[in-house]
């Protein structure tokens, strides 16, 4: 029985935490938001130099050859410090897709470049102001040429490559496109401008197929299941930071002659934050187990982690503002940075409603034995 990270993984996590504190990741996030810069290049270069972009990439491609668990502890720290870097797009989504679905030729070309930062990747899914489904993807792939418009694509402004979810000749396909002249990229304003999002117009952009034809939607779901676990660690990192902020403020702020943290209205609010965070953390560990062991339970475990991590970060970030009173509503205090990031993360690989539906759908498909797992 070991639902915990190893000592080496915990060491990696504490080193990551120290590094991001020293580099003032949170202040950098604020600067990126203020200046509408989409990312902090300097921090991103330093992260590449730390080797984190190659954690999951095999040593033969210059990576560290480590596992998903190492990625999860890094994710928690990036979430805690709201790091304004394209790590999640390029690592949880793009790199994973290349490792899982690409030909050896593509791997040999791209994986070393993903390690050293020459290549930055992202994934383009959504097209309209509604949840993407296999039925509403209108971007086409004809004779390997991709055409159509994608919106809310993370980090496209700095990315060199993008995986595009296309409607191909035999159904949904995942296609690799090198961003070039046939792709017109526009920055989009979002609820959290500390992380850049863009629209991309593809005009007969040349592409390569990833995975099997017509299997794109299934492959995408698997990719999102994996990413949801890693994002859940970003979410619990952020939720913990918001709870820590609220706790510290409640101890220091006095009203009516006493610390506001001595009022039960505040205590119970913070206890509720702790409860949601603890449930989310435990479910994220379960997700990490399923991810790292390639368990058949991954779809259910990922949805469970995703739903509770979204609920925890949304709640903790929102009640952190409430605990701070008027100060929490100012631009000057950091509360809104967490509130923004929480909402961004609660949408980026699908909303709460989408993941609750995935969870129930997963239970319906599972054998009764899988549904009824009790200790």
């Amino acid at each position: 029985m070991n639902l915990d990270f190893s000592d080496d993984q915990k060491f990696l996590q504490s080193e990551a935490q120290k590094f991001l504190e020293k580099e003032q990741s949170l202040q950098r996030s604020r600067s990126v938001l203020d200046a509408q810069q989409a990312l902090d290049i300097d921090l991103w270069q330093k992260i590449i130099a730390m080797g984190w972009t190659g954690i999951r990439i095999p040593e033969q491609y210059d990576g560290l050859g480590l596992g998903h668990l190492e990625l999860c502890v890094i994710a928690e720290e990036l979430g805690r410090s709201l790091a304004p870097v394209p790590f999640s797009s390029s690592v949880y989504l793009f790199t994973e897709a290349i490792i899982k679905f690409a030909s050896n030729e593509i791997k040999q070309d791209l994986l070393p470049k993903l390690v050293n930062g020459e290549c930055i990747g992202t994934v383009a899914i959504t097209e309209q102001l509604l949840a993407p489904t296999a039925q509403n993807i209108n971007t086409t792939a004809v004779n390997n040429a991709v055409s159509g418009t994608k919106i809310a694509v993370p980090d496209a402004g700095i990315a060199t490559h993008v995986i595009v979810v296309c409607n191909g000749e035999t159904g949904i396909e995942l296609r690799l496109v090198e961003l070039g002249d046939e792709c017109s990229i526009q920055k989009q304003d979002t609820i959290d401008d500390s992380r850049g999002h863009f629209s991309i117009d593809f005009n007969n952009a040349s592409s390569q197929l990833l995975g099997d034809q017509g299997e794109g939607w299934t492959l995408l779901q698997n990719l999102l299941d994996q990413a949801a676990v890693m994002f859940s660690f970003e979410q619990i990192g952020g939720a913990q930071a918001a709870l820590d902020m609220a706790t510290s403020y409640a101890q220091q702020r006095f009203a009516f002659g006493r610390a506001i943290g001595s009022y039960q209205a505040i205590k119970h609010k913070l206890a509720d934050m702790y409860i949601k965070l603890t449930l989310a953390k435990s479910n994220s560990y379960y997700g990490a187990w399923a991810l790292s062991t390639e368990s058949v339970e991954l779809n259910v475990a990922a949805a469970t982690a995703r739903v509770s991590a979204t609920q925890a970060f949304d709640y903790c970030s929102q009640e952190n503002i409430q605990t701070h009173g008027g100060n929490g509503f100012t631009w000057e205090y950091d509360c809104h940075l967490f509130y923004r990031r929480a909402k961004l993360l609660s949408l980026n690989v699908g909303s709460l409603a989408t993941w609750k539906e995935k969870l129930i759908h997963g239970l319906e498909k599972a054998q009764p034995a899988n549904v009824n797992q009790g200790v």
Partner: protein, 408 residues
């Protein structure tokens, strides 16, 4: 990360499982819902006694206890493994938990060696049942506000007052009790702790009828009841410290609210009709069940994190403190869901066991949110002990107990 037992743990689990298979019936093989009789009946009590004795004779009753008192000196993790295996079997539960979980540790820590040898083995064997006498009509969450009086008289103490919410008092042989020996000092300083023979003259026990219709709790009246000073546990005036040790053990003993869970709600929704289609097709129902499933999974995995720490020989973190507040509220929500799913007919009591379970969850959860620490007290504890927030300013601080406002 893995969910596997170590070789040693697997061997221990196999040993537990083998013994259980020889001596009890798996839940999945039980057709009758109450094979041991209605909980609360004499049949049930007899079944519980004989099961406890069987376990004791094989060493399983209090397996973490020293061997001289009938234990196996098992590790905390082995105790959990035993619990995980025993719960798969249909065995009579609910009679011994309080005595063994609360009176046991306190006797182990504070009784004399002679008393331990006299009382602990029969307690573990189920031959003598113990209860806990803390709460009073005016001392619930604020249990340190208790008023039952103890006056020293030679080698005895004379007890007068009333206790309440005493589970099982009607069939108990002994009880642990905390009383006030000095109302003239600070409230926490004026208490003393004893164990008492429940058959003593002057003890009067009256069952409380609960909102479920059952009576698992009692009022216990003390009218000039004599307790020998040799049955004092801890020093005079140390009662609160001894009681706190016991309450910490109660939190561990209470744990999960038992009853219908996300899985039962899911299965029910698959079979129940809702305007011509299965209830599980209803979007609102799907979202609610997803919420409960995430809570249940979160509690299960929290328990596994605690076990992982024990397994490595580490002290577990405070994460288990969320268990009761989450599970009792979830139970209430699921009870409401099940009843509501029957629309107008939800008001009816039926013989259908699923519906019966939802009714039980709905009524029982209202009590579980209070027993062993209310939601509010548990959240205070999380805020103060886990997060480090300051205590509420208290109106009773620095006052002699007799001068504390009582509201009546």
């Amino acid at each position: 990360m893995n969910f596997n037992d170590s070789e040693q743990q697997a061997q221990f689990r196999a040993k537990c499982s083998a013994w259980l298979q020889d001596n009890a019936q798996l839940k999945t093989q039980v057709v009758n819902h109450n094979p041991h009789g209605e909980p609360g009946s004499q049949d049930f009590l007899d079944a519980a006694r004989s099961w406890q004795k069987k376990k004791f004779d094989a060493g399983w009753a209090m397996l973490h206890w020293p061997k001289i008192y009938g234990g196996l000196e098992a590790s905390p993790l082995e105790r959990i493994i035993w619990g995980q295996e025993e719960v798969k079997f249909n065995v009579p539960q609910g009679i011994y938990e309080i005595g063994l979980g609360m009176a046991g540790p306190v006797m182990m820590q504070y009784a004399t060696e002679q008393q331990k040898q006299r009382y602990l083995p029969p307690m573990a064997a189920g031959e003598e049942i113990w209860c806990q006498l803390f709460s009073e009509p005016s001392a619930g969450s604020d249990v340190a506000g208790l008023r039952s009086k103890a006056v020293q008289d030679g080698d005895d103490w004379i007890i007068n007052g009333q206790k309440v919410w005493t589970s099982g008092a009607q069939f108990c042989d002994y009880g642990i009790i905390v009383v006030r020996h000095d109302p003239n000092v600070d409230k926490h300083a004026g208490m003393t702790f004893f164990f008492v023979d429940m058959k003593s003259s002057g003890i009067d026990i009256k069952p409380i009828k609960q909102i479920t219709g059952g009576s698992s709790f009692n009022e216990v009246y003390f009218n000039d009841v004599r307790i020998p000073d040799s049955q004092r546990l801890g020093a005079i005036g140390d009662g609160w410290r001894v009681a706190i040790t016991t309450l910490m053990n109660e939190r561990l003993a209470v744990g999960d609210a038992k009853g219908v869970d996300a899985t039962e709600a899911f299965e029910w929704a698959q079979g129940q009709d809702d305007h011509g289609q299965a209830l599980i097709q209803n979007r609102a129902v799907r979202e609610s069940i997803a919420d409960w499933y995430c809570q249940a999974s979160g509690l299960r995995n929290t328990k596994l994190r605690t076990m992982s720490a024990l397994s490595k020989g580490d002290t577990p973190g405070p994460e288990a403190s969320i268990t009761k507040v989450v599970s009792a509220n979830k139970l209430q929500a699921i009870g409401n869901f099940g009843i509501d799913s029957l629309d107008m007919a939800g008001m009816l009591k039926t013989e259908l066991s699923d519906v019966h379970d939802f009714h039980n969850a709905w009524l029982g959860s209202a009590g579980l949110r209070i027993a062993g620490g209310t939601d509010e007290i548990l959240k205070n504890i999380i805020a103060e002990r886990v997060l480090g927030l300051p205590q509420d300013p208290r109106a009773d601080k620095g006052l002699a107990f007799k001068d504390i406002p009582s509201g009546r």
